[in-house]
Symmetry: C2
Subunit: 251 residues, 2 copies
């Protein structure tokens, strides 16, 4: 059986999704929960890595069993795994999918959200859950700049050294910034994201707000591919993987 799980987690206490021998990963928590539930170790495959400290609301992963286990209904699976997972991780939904379904290759994009908090004083409820800037941001300037990311571009300026892919061309479907009370939210949807790409976009938008970078700098960066011409990498704790866009299976 191949189960597709929709997963939420608070990234604060993890090195990210991906298993690492000397750090606590979300994947390892799943491997252990699955082994405890089925009495056997089965592969758990994620839709992507996430950075240490980054959160997820709609991460996708599959659990592929070999048919030797006692079967479990997919609607019972979230509860059965949740009692075996730490409180900061939760399976939100589970469904049976064809064996060939892969959470990376049968999806066509992702939606991220980056949350800035710009109230005067720090907000304890957003500790580790937003980048707390604590001086007023200009969401209108940030929104104009964010729209420049839309479309197909070479995003070499917007990735960190160590990106695994040689091809830096990606398509951004939607990109905008809006105020929600004392937070400013950057939403971006695209067919793929390079290493640290959303966090560098967020850092660049912050620099746009404080006048260190302007729109023509961004347009130039999207052409010249020079990392030094854009903003800093924003901290991980403001970033949320909102959802993964699934292809209808078979496409």
């Amino acid at each position: 059986m191949n189960y597709l799980l929709t997963v939420s987690y608070i990234g604060t206490n993890y090195c990210g999704w991906q298993y690492q021998p000397n750090a606590r990963s979300v994947q390892e928590c799943f491997q252990n929960a699955v082994e405890d539930l089925f009495g056997k170790r089965f592969p758990v495959t994620g839709c992507s890595r996430t950075d240490s400290g980054v959160h997820a609301k709609g991460f996708l992963c599959t659990v592929k069993t070999d048919g030797t286990e006692s079967p479990i209904d997919s609607d019972k699976l979230p509860m059965a795994l949740n009692v075996r997972l730490p409180q900061d991780i939760s399976v939100r939904e589970a469904e049976a999918v064809p064996d060939a379904f892969h959470p990376r290759y049968n999806t066509y994009g992702k939606e991220y959200r980056y949350i800035f908090y710009d109230g005067k004083c720090r907000n304890p409820f957003l500790q580790n859950r937003a980048w707390q800037i604590c001086h007023r941001l200009d969401e209108s300037k940030m929104n104009s700049a964010a729209r420049l990311f839309c479309g197909e571009h070479d995003f070499s300026s917007f990735c960190s050294v160590g990106t695994s892919d040689d091809n830096h061309v990606r398509t951004v479907f939607e990109s905008n910034v809006a105020r929600e009370g004392e937070t400013v939210v950057f939403r971006v949807t695209g067919n793929g994201f390079l290493y640290n790409m959303v966090r560098i976009m967020a850092g660049t938008l912050y620099d746009v707000s404080r006048g260190k970078i302007n729109e023509s700098d961004i347009s130039r960066a999207l052409k010249c591919g020079n990392r030094a011409s854009v903003g800093m990498t924003a901290p991980p704790y403001g970033l949320y993987l909102e959802r993964v866009l699934r292809k209808p299976f078979g496409e």
Copy 2:
């Protein structure tokens, strides 16, 4: 100088506001931060106790100095205290008030919010921040019932043994329930609240949703004053002290 502070805190790690010799209280954190800042211990007075695990967004307290300290502008005070307070406590605002101002006696009421989460599976982002029911609530029935609390009533049915006050008559100004996505929010504003009163109201509304209590039970409870006729005390982690209603000084 008498400084009035507006304070937010996550109640999870505290026994409540009030100092207790063998537990960690928010008040003690303030006493220590104030002593560290001014080099001298000054009285810190809160607008109320809060229960262990209960959160606050707009708690009020005063810090009364004796004039021997180096003066500090009230607009600098939030930052100066925040660097000396734990991350789950924050001073949001500070202002100088007349010496006679008392955060309990110069206020005329409070607004509380109680958050129920009724998504299918647990939500890690609301861990310790909502009562996670995990089956669908009937917010419309809860809202009708919540409206019965409005007005002046003897709330003896809605307080726990150990309430300090002999007079159980309180006036509720507003009381309603509304859905916000996968949360259901009970808001109540009144001139005063007995020990555990909001949590018992919330537990009663939960019982209304699941059909264990109906509206006439509540009307009767508001007359007969019998604790056993209403619902359980809802857990503390869903409760937020939203704001304290201040009298114009001098009234």
